[in-house]
Symmetry: C2
Subunit: 265 residues, 2 copies
DNA sequence: CGGACCGCTTCCGTCTAACGGAAGCCATGC
DNA sequence: GCATGGCTTCCGTTAGACGGAAGCGGTCCG
């Protein structure tokens, strides 16, 4: 064979699932085959198995999308589930007071992974989504996570290219370092239209039993609204309660914090 | 071979994922092999592939659990995602007024599938979870879905055994039919400690463009609190707004409504 | 209206990698 | 110290995964 190019049937099937992103939530068979670099016939066979089980479903345009069954199974994942169960009631309390977007995020690799989000009709529409990732240097929760991470991690992060999203995004490593130092000192992070024009944010760290950064909690508001610092006391209070609950429930630190550091980069 | 007993490698790997439930969110290798009726060596090989990709992860007890990556991928599923995006802001409005548990559910097969849930510290703790299923005859949202379903579906449902959860659960087909008739007439469902002692609920239907039942919206409160009917006007108002939004956004009816009926059962 | 095109589906001969029994390993506990 | 239970590794067999190619069925355009 020129066949069997390295990958097992199972890992190829999983690669097909991994081809879906929030930017491409539906894909045709040909797109799937191209993205996963596998022959059309192979993709066809694997996709049929995935569809039969319910991992994929076909919409009316004959495009494939992630199936509801996979949504159900994914929600069983203990790590995000426990964090959500603990954080969401406290986030509700914050929402009630602010009526703004409330975020709870962890670090995963070099990105901010949004674990929970509350929003409503009075909140400014924003791009964050539960289960999605955004950079650490351009988001409130991301900067809070980054500022309280280890010096080594900050060094690594600042050494990588910093993507620009708006004219306010901090893309200079030195400026980011200074900003993180300020964040550490005052105990909360601020952003001002650094991810999206029109929205700004404030966030505080959530520490685990060892005093290390475990997550962060933040608010995103429309940039014309009044000063963000008024949210800091409530954010700090709720973050402390979440931290206490996480420790009480032996909610392990997010695996990404432990496993992905050795390699560097 | 006595090997290769019918299942492809891909479907076997998926079966391993399907072995996890909310009652058993972590499983050992042996438990996985037993539940999926496959040799230990086979389960071991497949599980290794699933773990390598991130579909499964191992916790500190050497038990397997659904991985965070699968949680992320599952959240891309368009059907629940769109419904949640539309319903959640309206559910927030209901939460603000009531401070009680708010549910949004669809029918899937013969069960109620919880698509979204809001809760807070003042709300009574309940067993419902996003992505989980509960019966239709013992829950508020379930009874609302069932009452406005087709006569054929109601017949089928009532012909099946009705599980009892508390002494208040309606397990007599005739009584359930009468209850559903009352629900249809007055336009909302009620439950009184039928799923769990101590909590009762009220729910209203959400209709699609064709006037057919698409989802339901409900509140669950502690049973000693005052009358549930006070929530009905707000529930109806928000249900109407959700229906309008779903139609405007061409949010297709939940696939289960279309695909799973032919068989009967 | 005809034909080129594009994407999906089916077929089938090749041969690899999935299969699983069995042996080995490593805790834990009596 | 030995039994137990669960996990890991090994390896010969062969089922089933593989993918090129042909067929099918739309749509677009001249």
């Amino acid at each position: 064979m020129t066949k069997g190019n390295g990958r097992s049937a199972t890992s190829r099937a999983l690669d097909l699932l991994g081809a879906f992103t929030i930017e491409h939530p539906t894909l045709t068979l040909t797109e799937l085959a191209t993205r996963c670099a596998m022959p059309l016939a192979t993709a066809h066979r694997l996709v049929a198995a995935l569809e039969a089980w319910g991992a994929l479903e076909r919409n009316t345009d004959n495009r494939y999308q992630i199936g509801t069954r996979l949504w159900e199974i994914g929600l069983l994942s203990p790590v995000p589930r426990r964090m959500r169960e603990i954080a969401l009631p406290f986030m509700q309390d914050l929402y009630e007071k602010s009526k703004e977007n409330i975020h709870f995020a962890v670090r995963d690799g070099h990105e901010t992974l949004y674990i929970a989000k509350l929003t409503g009709h009075q909140a400014v529409p924003i791009i964050s989504r539960e289960g999605n990732r955004l950079p650490m240097h351009s988001t409130g929760v991301g900067k809070a996570l980054l500022a309280f991470s280890s010096k080594e991690f900050i060094d690594t992060y600042c050494a990588r290219p910093l993507a620009r999203y708006t004219r306010h995004t901090i893309v200079e490593p030195g400026r980011l370092r200074r900003e993180l130092a300020v964040t550490r000192e005052r105990g909360y992070s601020l952003t001002n239209e650094e991810m999206t024009l029109g929205s700004c944010s404030v966030a505080v760290p959530v520490f685990d039993a060892r005093g290390e950064i475990a997550a962060s909690l933040g608010v995103v508001v429309h940039s014309v609204r009044d000063n963000l610092t008024k949210y800091v006391p409530d954010l700090k209070a709720e973050a402390a309660k979440i931290a206490k609950m996480m420790i009480a429930h032996h909610c392990d630190p997010y695996p990404g914090f432990v496993h992905d550091l050795p390699q560097g980069v």
